[in-house]
């Protein structure tokens, strides 16, 4: 029993991290139809920038803030100079964003070297809650809390504010959104910035959990895409459920059948897509 409880807890906490990454990706992918393979790089670069801030200042909150904002700016520049010209051109998007991912990877190697690092979590977030035989690391609880707050804030903005309604109108019919005076370019830029911000923030938060090391970008990217595709492109609820599902599957896969862990992750995904090609909460 203890084994199951702690594995479920671990799966949920990994799912929480994935949600931070996939929440932004689903908005960019589903709302703006931009296939952004640089998303994993935002995660890694956010982690590295956060690391540098920690080394300089020792402040974990500042590391999250600076890492997230710096990479959001980077994402906006990338969008402004390149991606917004590639609307509807999927091949161009894939090639461009993979190109950026490779450039960022090399850049990170030059700046931060090839060694793996772990972002030191503040003392308050280390240790564990102990309930006799069960053991819940505080940092994992923290990740779940961050994801929950982000989910609520995103939901509120999207469903309960005028800007959120403008974003949904743009998804429904971008041309007509312009026809009622919505500045679609500005909305798109905002969504892109938000996506990069969340991914980079996840990189700092995750940096204290999975570490910051060369290759982390391309390691986490498929997970984020699986979450978005299973959950349904553009659906926040889908990203949330998808993250938890993938977090749990990955965790149980690795714990129970370590030699088949990719199978236990991707087989259910294939099954879901066979039954619902648009994902759990996706629209056609």
């Amino acid at each position: 029993m203890d084994f199951w409880i702690s594995q479920v807890f671990n799966g949920i906490s990994y799912g929480a991290l994935l949600f931070l990454l996939a929440g932004g990706l689903t908005l960019i992918f589903g709302m703006m139809r931009i296939i952004n393979l640089t998303h994993g790089s935002y995660f890694l670069l956010g982690g590295y920038v956060g690391l540098t801030v920690i080394w300089r200042t020792g402040s974990f909150p500042l590391a999250i803030l600076v890492g997230a904002v710096a990479i959001a700016v980077l994402g906006v520049v990338q969008w402004r100079l390149f991606l917004h010209r590639l609307a509807g051109e999927e091949l161009g998007q894939v090639l461009t964003t993979v190109g950026f991912a490779l450039i960022f990877q090399d850049l990170a190697l030059v700046i931060w070297g090839g060694e793996p690092y772990t972002i030191p979590a503040p003392a308050a977030l280390t240790g564990a809650f102990n309930t006799g035989t069960l053991y819940f690391p505080v940092y994992r609880v923290f990740m779940i809390g961050v994801a929950a707050v982000v989910a609520v804030v995103l939901w509120f903005v999207l469903e309960r504010t005028r800007v959120g309604a403008m974003m949904r109108a743009t998804v429904d019919d971008a041309e007509m959104a312009g026809g009622v005076g919505i500045d679609v370019r500005r909305i798109s830029m905002g969504v892109f910035a938000l996506g990069a911000l969340l991914a980079a923030g996840a990189g700092v938060v995750g940096g204290a959990f999975v570490g910051v090391y060369p290759g982390a970008d391309f390691e986490i990217l498929p997970y984020a895409f699986v979450v978005v595709i299973v959950g349904g492109m553009g659906s926040l609820r889908g990203a949330l459920i998808g993250s938890l599902l993938v977090g749990l599957l990955d965790n149980f896969g690795k714990a129970l059948f370590p030699e088949f862990s990719y199978f236990t992750l991707f087989a259910p995904m294939a099954a879901i897509l066979a039954i619902r090609p648009t994902g759990l909460f996706g629209r056609a």
């Binding site: 949904r168 007509m176 959104a177 312009g178 026809g179 005076g181």
Partner: protein, 230 residues
């Protein structure tokens, strides 16, 4: 108010508008008639910036707006009721109106729009995609009014509506005209268009082939059979 000067518009290689010129004066309703596929919607798309013209000029209130992004044209005072309604289906009626609120200080806001279309008030919380065709059409008009336009572009607002609703839309248009709005009205319903228009243009194959006051068209059998298929 609106001056269209020798506009040429293409979809890729296909040359659709082959030099269209017309004017809409302040407070006027100008009707644009023509059979299917003659380029009426393409002209509307050229004016609002969806498909910018490759040659020619669109001048609105003395400002050259040729090739402007749609949202800037809307901010300057052009409202659009597109062909096929194109309400935002996943948004509620209230949200459809809220996202279109522009040019504060103008006469239109949610309360006023809902007085004009009480049915929309009753359905404020419903998803627009679930409304009937007539209700969607009212929403499309109401949404355009929310931008507080000085010029309204209406592309076949009676398409697919029952006769009683066609009359309703005709009344709304006359009402808006009485409020001083200028309107460019694309219509297939001849009686309705001639009832409200101050001036009529007939389009064929991307050109304006006939222009006259509305009264003159009733008896012009030649134009009606040749260009309107009546």
């Amino acid at each position: 108010m609106l001056e269209v000067r020798d506009v040429h518009t293409y979809y890729g290689d296909s040359y659709v508008l082959q030099g269209v010129s017309l004017e809409v004066a302040q407070g006027q309703v100008v009707a644009l008639l023509g059979r299917n596929g003659m380029g009426k919607t393409t002209l509307i798309r050229s004016l609002i910036g969806f498909t910018p013209p490759r040659r020619g000029r669109v001048v609105f209130k003395g400002t050259d707006i040729t090739g402007w992004a749609s949202n800037r044209a809307v901010d300057l005072g052009i409202g659009l009721v597109p062909q096929g309604r194109r309400v935002f289906p996943s948004l509620t009626v209230a949200e459809n109106l809220a996202v279109a609120a522009r040019r504060p200080g103008g006469p239109w806001d949610v309360a006023r729009v809902m007085t004009l279309f009480p049915r929309l008030g009753e359905r404020a919380g419903h998803r627009a995609g679930k409304l009937s065709g007539g209700e969607q059409q009212m929403l499309a008009v109401a949404r355009a009014l929310m931008t507080n336009p000085e010029l309204l572009l209406m592309d076949e607002p009676t398409e697919g509506l029952a006769p009683i609703l066609v009359r309703e839309v005709g009344k709304v248009i006359a009402d808006l005209k009485a409020h001083g709005l200028s309107i460019l009205l694309v219509e297939q319903n001849l009686a309705m268009a001639l009832g409200v228009a101050d001036h009529v243009h007939v389009m064929s194959r991307g050109r304006i082939v006939h222009s006259c006051p509305p009264g003159a068209l009733w008896n012009d059998t030649e134009v009606k059979t040749r260009y309107l298929g009546l």
